[in-house]
């Protein structure tokens, strides 16, 4: 049975074209919306792994330590390796003070923190020598 080909309504064709254009327009708009929203709902001062890597590369240890604290307050565990390295730097910094002041118990406490952090930082341990050198800590 042959079916007679019906002529399409030109208004409907026009509306279909608009629908297709709107669907394509939704893709970039949706993308920008998602990005803008993700940024807006993100807590201030948090730093993702990429940013932590960037700070480490720039040797901006102060901001690196800040990132570690803020990330942990916001439950962000994606930077755990970097967090361990930040703990190491902070403990190393305090160790030098306590060592200089001859506060042995406190210095040992920082040493323990450094050892514990070293075990958690994975391949980032390569940076500990650089940090020790910066702090003027002699290898035992």
């Amino acid at each position: 049975m042959s079916r007679k080909k019906t002529k399409q309504d030109p208004v409907n064709i026009f509306l279909d074209v608009i629908i297709i254009i709107l669907i394509f327009a939704m893709i970039p708009v949706g993308f920008f919306y998602y990005n803008a929203r993700s940024y807006a709902v993100k807590p201030s001062f948090t730093k993702d792994a990429q940013m932590m890597g960037f700070l480490l590369g720039k040797r901006d240890y102060a901001a690196f330590i800040q990132g570690r604290y803020i990330n942990s307050y916001n439950g962000d565990t994606s930077t755990d390796g970097y967090n361990a390295l930040a703990d190491y730097i902070e403990a190393d910094f305090k160790y030098k003070i306590y060592d200089a002041k001859n506060f042995k118990a406190k210095a040992d406490e920082q040493k323990d923190i450094m050892e514990s952090a070293r075990k958690q930082m994975g391949e980032l341990t390569v940076f500990t020598d650089q940090v020790d050198e910066m702090m003027g800590i002699k290898k035992e």
Partner: protein, 260 residues
């Protein structure tokens, strides 16, 4: 229908009987009726066609409306999320709500940091939850927060000197030393007087001891990292800003020479 002359079967459109050839007297009536039916059918067909066309247009217009609404809503969202003031207002509101809802947890954390003399953790915690800017919360912690920030800034500046970081303003060691001197001397102007004030309510809590210990921690930090004697470190609180800056910078040049 049968022929009234021969009784044969007649088609509804037969004008004459195909068997006896006599006229079918119902033919005219049938033909008119058929014509009416046909017209009625065509009319209904046209109506259905029109109605279907209208419905499909309405359907498409509804889809266009919904898509346009979503796009406009997302564009408004992008505008609002991208606007700094709106974003910060919303962010502040969220943080304020969080702090209100989790006040017990925040209280416990502040006590923990204060007891442990964890100055950095305290300052970043305050920064994260904007406890300094939301002065309705924790007004009694004002000096504790101020002490922590002094410690943290001096700590960060020392790190910046050691790691050679120049900051976004391309600061040099002399600038960091200048900032350290400023924060050291500000401590006794903005924080410490509360400790020496016997009427201060800080003495009723552990806050006074915290700000005293924080001052000592800053002194130890500066002494260790600038290789000062105890007397030099202890006397830095009474120095003028420029003299303190010069002393720190002279030590700095030997200990942490800047890379050109």
């Amino acid at each position: 229908m049968k022929c009234k002359f021969c009784g044969s079967n007649l088609g509804i459109e037969d004008e004459f009987c195909p068997h006896c050839g006599k006229p079918n007297d119902q033919f005219e009536g049938n033909r008119t009726e058929m014509k009416e039916y046909k017209e009625e059918f065509e009319k209904t067909k046209e109506e259905v066609k029109e109605s279907s066309k209208t419905n499909s247009r309405i359907g498409r217009l509804i889809v266009i409306g919904v898509l346009s609404f979503i796009i406009i809503a997302m564009l408004i969202g992008i505008h609002n999320y991208s606007d700094f003031d709106t974003r910060e207002r919303n962010r502040n509101k969220r943080i304020e709500d969080y702090v209100s809802e989790h006040k017990d947890e925040i209280d416990a954390k502040l006590i923990e940091f204060e007891d442990n003399r964890d100055y950095l953790a305290m300052d970043y915690f305050v920064l994260n939850y904007r406890l300094r800017s939301n002065s309705d919360y924790y007004p009694e912690y004002g000096k504790v927060f101020a002490a922590s920030i002094q410690y943290r800034v001096i700590h960060d500046d020392i790190l910046n000197i050691m790691d050679g970081y120049d900051g976004y303003e391309n600061l040099k060691d002399r600038d960091w030393c200048d900032n350290i001197a400023k924060y050291i001397l500000d401590y006794d102007v903005y924080v410490q007087p509360e400790y020496f004030n016997p009427d201060s309510t800080l003495h009723e809590t552990g806050h006074a001891a915290y700000i005293k210990d924080c001052r000592m921690a800053i002194q130890d930090m500066v002494q260790a990292y600038f290789d000062l004697t105890y007397d030099q470190a202890n006397g830095m609180w009474l120095m003028g800003k420029d003299d303190l800056c010069d002393m720190l910078y002279s030590k700095c040049m030997d200990l942490y020479p800047e890379e050109e």
